[in-house]
């Protein structure tokens, strides 16, 4: 595809704005808290900004491309990732967990684990998290470079260096604040850049009714075909509700520091609590921007007119190309520049999110904890800046590894999913049961991860897993990889929960005094400072849940 000069001009203007925001914020960076994130009135960031950054940090290229791919592959059922997955978990984070994260004065999620449990639990979480952030930012760098190569014919190296260079420039100058401000800019760009596509696409296929007429019922209903696993996703009701709705979503949205960091950057406790709650309003509408193009694309292949989703070399549909193909098909030169800028923006917000979470965890939870305990603040500021650059260099290296050794990447991704699956059990017990001990938490996490690996080893789905079977029949065969992933998560969660409980009962708990502000029963409820009742956490949460329920019903 050939871009016109106008499209290039639009991309260039966007990049200029991104860099200028970093430069403008540079003068505000004086301490490590300015750079890595600190929470109080002075460092705090306005609520609407932290809220939009909260969802934008997660709105990476893989999410934008992946969700429209899933829309084409699984239909509107993909919205479960939002309406049963993310939203309830975000409400739980805001109402019940933020008071501990924000109130404990911990600077990161691993640091909360040290305060609540012990050093080894923090170390385990910090090291696995830091590795994961570098890995995911590298993989999205790789994905973007591949995309730009296919679309624009840019060379792999040029795309990687340009994108990583821009992210490096604005995170290095303005730190977390710059990443957050840019995430908000990128959020609007993604929404306004893709919304016209949804509009013309829907007009083309005759609106939602047109899609319903073209596609089978299982593609246009979220719940109706969930009675058994005989649906496009190959997941039953229990797997969906427990695996995705509870274990995976709560595990990700409530414990991932990349997201929690955005809420922790708010000005006060009330704003921190409300960050995920306010974020939930736009979040619940995002399926119409990111999933709907997939459904429209699929309907368009049915009505003819020359549109088709491209195929991979092996003859299967290349669903990941759904959104880019739609952009090229519908957008005239000019708007096409905006659409491509939106894709680049989604990648950058994802990468900057990972890099700014990495530099904080590295500086506070690894470097300060294990290498250099009592240095001056300016020392840690320097270390934070260095970690930003190193994080980006490691991401670039990861992108190159991903290009040559795709299997290693798949394996790593699998290992990370095992590490993440049990996390929420640890936090739930730690925050709401004061008897939970550090030994319980640590060994529970390791046990949960082992249980996840074991489950993967004795079951199969779509030819994957079953590596422990050595030729004998698998314990269970899942209809889809997703069904298997949800089941693994459930097993890991239960194993972690039971192990943590049992080991905690057998080991000595911390004194109550040491756990004030860290455990539900020993912490005063935060005083509500917001005067307008409808902006307080509980009414907001009620409104979010009611609207999500309505959306579930509307598309059931």
């Amino acid at each position: 595809m050939q871009l016109s000069l106008i499209d290039y001009a639009i991309i260039a203007i966007y990049l200029m704005f991104v860099l200028s925001i970093g430069m403008l914020l540079k003068r505000k960076v004086k301490s490590s808290a300015d750079f890595l994130g600190g929470h109080d009135e002075k460092h705090g960031i306005p609520l609407w900004i932290t809220s939009l950054a909260f969802i934008s940090a997660n709105l990476g290229a893989q999410e934008v491309l992946g969700m429209s791919a899933s829309g084409a592959k699984y239909g509107i059922m993909t919205a479960h990732f939002y309406w049963i997955g993310a939203i309830p978990a975000m409400v739980f984070l805001g109402l019940f967990m933020m008071p501990f994260y924000y109130g404990s004065r911990a600077r990161s999620v691993p640091e909360y684990l040290r305060l609540r449990f012990d050093e080894k639990t923090r170390g385990l979480n910090a090291i696995s998290f830091a590795t994961m952030t570098v890995f995911s930012s590298g993989v999205s760098l790789y994905a973007l470079a591949i995309l730009l190569k296919v679309l624009l014919g840019w060379s792999f190296g040029f795309s990687v260096l340009l994108s990583a260079g821009i992210v490096a420039a604005y995170t290095f100058t303005g730190g977390l604040r710059s990443a957050i401000y840019n995430e908000v800019l990128q959020f609007f760009l993604i929404v306004l850049g893709i919304a016209p596509l949804v509009y013309v696409g829907l007009r083309k296929v005759g609106g939602w009714e047109g899609i319903q007429a073209q596609l089978p019922g299982a593609m246009t209903h979220t719940w109706q075909y969930m009675g058994s696993a005989d649906n496009p996703m190959g997941v039953g009701l229990f797997g969906m509700a427990m695996g995705l709705g509870f274990v995976l979503s709560f595990g990700y949205w409530c414990t991932d520091f990349l997201l929690v960091q955005r809420a922790m950057a708010a000005r006060n406790m009330s704003a921190a609590q409300r960050t995920p709650l306010i974020a939930a309003f736009p979040k619940m509408l995002l399926p119409f921007i990111v999933i709907m193009p997939g459904l429209v694309a699929l309907a368009m292949t049915h009505i003819g007119g020359g549109f088709s989703i491209p195929f991979k070399a092996d003859g299967r549909m290349d669903y990941d190309m759904t959104l880019p193909t739609m952009l090229v098909y519908f957008y005239p030169s000019g708007l096409l520049g905006v659409g491509l800028t939106a894709l680049m923006a989604s990648f950058m917000s994802g990468m900057a999110g990972n890099v700014t979470a990495f530099n904080t965890v590295w500086t506070y939870d690894i470097y300060q904890a294990y290498f250099c305990k009592n240095a001056s603040d300016s020392h840690y500021l320097r270390m934070g800046k260095m970690a930003t650059i190193v994080g980006i260099l490691l991401s670039i290296a990861t992108a190159y590894v991903a290009r040559s050794f795709n299997n290693i990447m798949d394996l790593l991704q699998l290992v990370f999913s095992f590490v993440n699956a049990p996390l929420f059990a640890t936090f739930l017990l730690g925050m709401f049961w004061k008897r939970t001990t550090g030994h319980g938490a640590f060994w529970g996490l390791l046990g949960g991860t082992a249980a996840a690996a074991l489950t993967h080893g004795v079951t199969v789905a779509e030819g994957k897993g079953g590596w422990l079977l050595l030729g004998s029949a698998p314990l269970h065969e899942f209809r889809s990889g997703m069904g298997q992933a949800f089941a693994i998560a459930i097993v890991a969660w239960v194993a972690c929960f039971v192990l943590t409980l049992a080991i905690s009962l057998a080991t000595k708990p911390k004194a109550d005094e040491e756990m004030r502000g860290l455990v539900y029963s020993l912490t005063e409820r935060p005083k509500e400072t917001e005067t307008r009742w409808y902006l307080r956490p509980i009414p907001l949460a009620a409104a979010v849940l009611a609207m999500t329920l309505a959306l579930n019903y509307l598309y059931h």
Partner: protein, 75 residues
């Protein structure tokens, strides 16, 4: 005033979309391209207009709060 505006994220966001809006509307008017699929919309002009409304709203609301902050500090 300018300092306050630069501190307010609404200003750069609004400015960026206003610039995009102007570019899209001009391109759309000079080279009217209706959608390939045969739907009769000049997508550059209509999307540009929409971005313009959003951009202006952001810029104006940033200017409005900068002005009221200035008035408060004068008092």
């Amino acid at each position: 005033m300018l300092n306050q505006l630069l501190d307010d994220l609404r200003f750069p966001i609004g400015l960026l979309f206003s610039i995009f809006s102007v570019i899209l509307i001009i391109v759309g008017l000079i080279k009217p391209q209706t959608v390939a699929a045969g739907i009769d919309i000049n997508l550059n002009v209509s999307a540009g207009a929409f971005m313009g409304v959003f951009g202006l709203f952001m810029v104006l609301s940033a200017m409005w709060s900068a002005r009221s902050a200035q008035k408060r500090s004068q008092k």
